[in-house]
């Protein structure tokens, strides 16, 4: 048994791994698209905007992702919204990630010394211009390490969508376990595959971090 199960099902594992990557990339993109405006809203001077963003972040961060997946998949049909398993999974994971990415961005922006904004404003730039041209470029560099963390967590958490019958890596593993009854081999192998994905992510983003580093500034070395 053992190795044979892995060898005979490499194609199946690969299919699952590719779907895991697709789900992760789509959810990261969705999380980023929503997280950036949300992060800016978190430090907005307009109270209702700030309150709304804070509410979103606290709600999504304060409830389990698995429960959120169930709400999207099993819950939404009650109000007439039917999404297929894959779309539900990406949506739930992406919405959840948006909350974390918003917080990461807020932290990044607030780590840029106040003097930077003040200097930009004193040169006649508007708040928006100062943000776009001076603060955000620095903040974006500062958030690479925590974002790396978030992406790694997201790749691993995408395994939760196996609960709603999405054929990603973990469901493939469960399926093969249901056929071959060899959980140790199968889940250990799958863990190694996840590790390769997260390790590669970490390495790629480390390169980005180094390439974009401003000499003498921030966390870069």
């Amino acid at each position: 048994m053992g190795l044979e199960i892995i060898a005979n099902n490499l194609g199946f594992f690969l299919k699952g791994a590719i779907l895991t990557l697709e789900i992760s990339l789509a959810a990261i993109a969705l999380g980023f698209a929503l997280g950036v405006p949300m992060g800016l809203a978190r430090i907005s001077r307009v109270l209702p905007v700030r309150a709304l963003a804070t509410g979103y972040v606290e709600a999504l961060r304060g409830t389990p992702l698995l429960v959120q997946i169930f709400i999207v998949y099993f819950g939404l049909p009650s109000i007439g919204i039917y999404l297929d398993p894959l779309v539900s999974g990406i949506l739930a994971v992406g919405l959840n990630s948006a909350a974390y990415q918003a917080e990461i961005l807020r932290g990044g922006i607030q780590s840029v010394p106040k003097g930077q904004m003040e200097a930009a404003r004193s040169m006649g730039m508007t708040y928006g211009q100062s943000m776009r041209r001076v603060v955000l470029p620095q903040a974006m560099r500062l958030i690479i390490p925590p974002m790396t963390n978030e992406f790694i967590i997201l790749i691993k958490d995408s395994s939760l969508v196996s609960a709603i019958s999405v054929w990603e890596l973990t469901l493939v593993a469960k399926e093969l376990n249901a056929k071959y009854f060899d959980p140790f081999t199968i889940f250990l192998f799958v863990a190694a595959v996840y590790f390769i994905m997260t390790f590669a992510t970490s390495k790629i983003l480390r390169v980005v971090e180094k390439k974009t580093a401003i000499p003498g500034f921030g966390a870069g070395d």
Binding site: M1, G2, L3, I6, F74, P77, Y82, D84, P85, L86, A163, S165, W167, L171, K174, E175, N177, A178, K179, Y180, F181, D182, P183, F184, T185, L188, F189, A191, A192, F195, I196, F199, A200, K203, R206, V207
Partner: protein
């Protein structure tokens, strides 16, 4: 850069090698033994099952405990052994692995005795006969036989004989796309999928299908696939004495009419 790359590949290599070596040993290490003596000295029989499968194992809303034919059977075996019984509720597909590794002493979960499963675990004498059934919403008129399932979405309980039937007869033949088979760890989640109209049909063991239809409004069984399956109690191959013990008990219960009374209680 090259240094980083080489290091990365080295780590990946190490992980892969370790997991492959570990997996080839998985058959020999880490398995916990179970036997009549071990169970007796522990004072507790650990039984695995997978809920949402009426009338074999289903949650009783009042007691919040699993109840059913299989659960009664588990307590009956515990009584005969003179020990208490702990019921562990898990994904159906996880049960055989749990028996193999000795995580549980036995699985009583409406589990069909199959050749494939027999390679990994042992089964008691059969205690119940079943078929597979196709369940649809009561207002559906377009699904009346297995052939009508072509191109449809189907829910199954992962790792069950219903799941295998769909894989072999519909997916392998190209009649149904792989991603259109929605697989769930618990049978009740597969049922929910049908109730929520996310699939066109549910393929599940016939007695359970009948119970679902009786308990949930708006469902019907449109076809019974005669598969002639026999449920057995799943145990570790090495637990020879335990298997004998359970077989003796089943024989005795059948001879005395106790088994029939138990079946009548739940059907």
């Amino acid at each position: 850069m090259i240094g980083v790359k080489r290091k990365a590949w080295a780590v990946i290599g190490v992980v892969v090698v370790i997991s492959l070596i570990a997996s080839s040993f998985a058959g020999c290490i880490g398995e916990r033994e179970t036997s009549v003596d071990i169970i007796k000295s522990r004072g507790k029989l650990i039984v695995g099952t997978s809920g949402g499968f009426p009338p074999f194992e289903v949650i009783n809303e009042t007691t919040q405990q699993l109840e059913g034919l299989d659960i009664d059977l588990a307590y009956r075996i515990g009584q005969e052994l003179g020990v208490t019984v702990e019921i562990r509720n898990m994904d159906f597909a996880a049960l055989i692995g749990a028996v193999k590794t000795g995580m549980i002493d036995m699985a009583i979960a409406g589990m069909t005795i199959t050749e494939e499963r027999n390679k990994s675990v042992a089964f008691s004498k059969p205690y119940f006969r079943a078929d597979q059934a196709i369940v649809v919403k009561a207002d559906r008129t377009d699904i009346n036989s297995p052939a009508d399932l072509a191109g449809k979405k189907i829910a199954v309980n992962q790792g069950t004989t219903g799941d295998f039937w769909v894989d072999e007869n519909l997916v392998a033949t190209g009649l149904v796309a792989e991603q259109d088979v929605h697989k769930f760890g618990f049978a009740s989640d597969a049922l929910l999928e049908l109730v929520a109209d996310r699939v066109d049909a549910l393929v599940i063991d016939s007695p359970v299908a009948e119970m679902y239809v009786a308990r949930t409004s708006g469902l019907k069984v449109v076809y019974t696939i005669v598969t002639n399956e026999y449920y057995g109690i799943c145990m570790n191959k090495n637990a020879v004495e335990l298997i004998e013990f359970v077989n003796d008990l089943i024989e005795e219960m059948e001879a005395s009419g106790e088994m029939q009374a138990l079946i009548d209680k739940w059907f």
